[in-house]
Symmetry: D2
Subunit: 285 residues, 4 copies
């Protein structure tokens, strides 16, 4: 039997005694810390922490932990979040026509590597419906035109909220989201950009990479913000190329990179290992 | 002005409340934790910690910290080590004829990246004397034959002890050390093996790699133990090769890998980030 | 319209004039060379070549090229193979319970990246039948016991031959093949071993890696020979690990590595870019 | 005894029969091809080739090969270059204050890995003089101000020409060269830029990378052209970073990357493996 774990994600202004208070809180109620990671951002004097402990034997009932912890949180003016290993994140996936990232997420989730509850797949095309059926996940198509965008996004939000979606993953979804949509899911929309950002921002990055003659291509997993391709980066990786690679080869190599990097970023988010901090991230991997 | 830091390296049987006591100790005396990392080895129920705090404003004088901490150490039956950022490790380098690792260590140290006090270079050949002179470090040659080995090692130990050497780095030193020498500097001798251990143990690993037709070669930085090439691994890295590479090409690619991996391992040791644990390491990088 | 290409794979004793004769042959009949790669193994004085030319405008009809080339082949006592880009390799996949490599091959093939004709999936279990159905590929189960092995392998060979299978891919197939089976498909069986060979030969390599405390794990794609895990290596890759990774984490990281490395090896074979040469390979990538 | 080799670097409009003529030329005079690599750029219909053969037994005397080859070159309207393995490239190194790239080049050259004839070190500072003396290479300081730049560059060109310098390597040289200087050594000036171009063009790339919060940093070795950081890329590599890395850590990691990537690019140039083609390169590695 795997016992349940609690995970605290904390950030606040740095000061002496924070770790002592938090670890004292956990040990007082007989919790045993399994993982703990912290970071101090010197420039802004900000303290970040992720602490995970076993609830087996912990003397505060699960539903009262937040309340019990609040005094410490208030004392240090913390931003904080309490998660439990048994409560799976409800995740929705957006996809257009390329299905390699979609498959990768669905397969890794089924294999238990991602451990999310995938509640919905949304697309602007019919193409991936058969995949959704095979994996037994609801699939809905919202066609997007300039005129219908606002209205369709409202319907998407309604559907996603009704399913309790906590995380939106854009798995090569080729529509730009409106600032309103982005704000509704602030820091909870993850995108894969098919370049090593900030190189090759915008459209057709593989064509740009080919034209520039780079020897390495990349992919970037990031949170979506109002500014296109400017959001906080969670994960990046690269792949070597040469003059022998055509644009089509770059696309193929890139697809294998995209699915890897997107999965890595999504997994880190699902494990509650990512702090967003301004336009950057603190990733406790 | 860079203020001084204290670093505690701890291992003990895991139990509830360890982190709370340590962090309470530090905050009680007004220390501010800069870095903290911990690990629990489930199989053996062992707890590992590395905690670093600022001594600026810490109310226990530096020379009394160890004494003050002892009560906690005894309570949890800890193995522990207290280090200070201002106290440079005294390091000796052993070298034979290949000088690429020697140069790398000397240059990185001079650039401030390693931050050791290199007190002695020892060789079984005259070849590297000019290098030692250029970097202004004492150089001593101890010729080793089967007959003189014991006697020469005794003289080496005497010299190293007189210089206060805390760390011995074998920078492609081609003599096997005796168990007695190894025991004298237990867990303080770092070697670079020119293969991806445990592949290609023993002599001429590049020739072995060539014969086997591998597509990747590696290098391994490890602590020296009685069993040749079996000691705890600190760092490893690899490099791609192809059928076009001759044995000589492997040697050249390997040399560039060796100097990288050895430097990385030595740096981790100098930063007190490595716990030796049986035949393995816990590396808090 | 993509025009058809011919590919010649050649090996023979090295001597002056080989390239001249081959390129003269192609240009005489108005072929245009698209790719050409060659290698000279000095130790054995062996010459290897892969040359690819456009058949558009080539004045020898496709079915007579082999015959026309034979004079040159005989003159230099060549081992040679003539392939055409339009003729897809017929590939069979063997799988046991882990399905990550199977999915990867099926998805990459469907996306056009592998470009094989997958004629059969064979397993010793029922588990993957649904996958085969989804991808519309014949699936057959052959239960293997010590007693039935010989008989079952004979039936497998019969089935594979009837389908014209040119390549057998062991996608985490957990049965050892008999020397007779191996001989029947000599140099046409590709396996993925879940370690960086020659490290951790045999069973449970991730457990071996964990016990040894390595900092990098690997996967190896190789041709199957009589000697277990000793066959010619086609491709290898690695992934970083740390003390934080449990054996289960190694298995998960390893699975993502295995599917990558196996796909890469299979792709190289399908593109006729691999020469087997004793226990090694020449890979023209 | 290592016999001498001839190397032909060719580019021209693609057409049928080029390889046949070149290889016929070599075999007619009893040359044995050791390496041959070619590439066809489809978009521009350009053919590139690098072919290397043994002069041992070649019946045209070395000094008459160019003349003998000219008929073929004219027929196909080739750009071409004939090199000999015995004739070392005369290389000059420019450096400012950071000396890590300078040391790396000097050490790799001394170890026989680069195999250049380093004829001059030029700097705008006195700092590296001792290094030049240790390696026994002429060192000259040219202070550069806005007013003196033109005049100083003229003197530099005069010195470099007098030494017969064929290749200028900017080993973290912090002055921008004038278009006139660049033109004098067109495609023969190699620079190391401390970012993964085209990301972070211009000054202080590590500060830019830190501010953007990327998870990977890079270095780029390229030929210098009039447009700053826009020249043809020869080699690139990357290194992982995390939120724990300060700007100073990026600088340190970057320095180790720079020396690696610069050495790789310089080595490829010295081996005559690089074709410049518009703003890109064809690298036959």
């Amino acid at each position: 039997m795997i016992s349940e774990k609690a995970i605290l994600l904390i950030s606040c202004q740095d000061s002496s005694g924070i770790v002592a208070e938090i670890s004292h809180f956990i040990s007082t109620y007989n919790g045993n810390i399994i993982h703990s990671d912290q970071h101090n951002d010197d420039a802004s004097n900000t303290f970040f922490m992720r602490i995970e402990w076993n609830l087996n034997g912990f003397t505060i009932p699960k539903e009262k932990i937040a309340q019990a912890f609040e005094a410490i949180a208030i004392k240090f003016n913390m931003s904080w979040e309490l998660e439990f290993s048994s409560e799976k994140t409800k995740m929705a996936i957006f996809v257009s026509k390329y299905d390699h990232c979609l498959y990768e997420l669905l397969l890794r989730n089924r294999a238990g590597e991602l451990d999310a509850d995938i509640v919905q797949i949304i697309s602007n095309h019919e193409d991936a419906r058969k995949i959704a059926e095979y994996f037994d996940i609801p699939y809905e198509v919202f066609k997007i035109t300039k005129e219908t965008k606002k209205e369709q996004e409202d319907r998407e939000i309604e559907l996603l909220d009704s399913k309790g979606a906590d995380l939106i993953v854009l798995a090569r979804y080729m529509q730009v989201l409106s600032p309103e949509f982005e704000e509704h899911f602030r820091n909870r929309i993850i995108n894969i950009h098919h370049s090593f950002l900030p190189a090759f921002i915008g459209a057709k990055p593989y064509h740009q990479a080919y034209a520039r003659g780079v020897k390495i291509i990349g992919a970037t997993c990031h949170y979506v913000t109002e500014d296109l391709d400017q959001g906080p980066i969670i994960a990046q990786d690269v792949s070597r190329i040469s003059h022998r690679d055509t644009v089509e080869d770059l696309v193929t190599k890139g697809k294998n990179l995209e699915k890897l990097v997107l999965s890595r970023g999504v997994k880190l988010h699902l494990q509650h290992k990512v702090h967003v901090f301004g336009n950057k991230t603190v990733v406790f991997d």
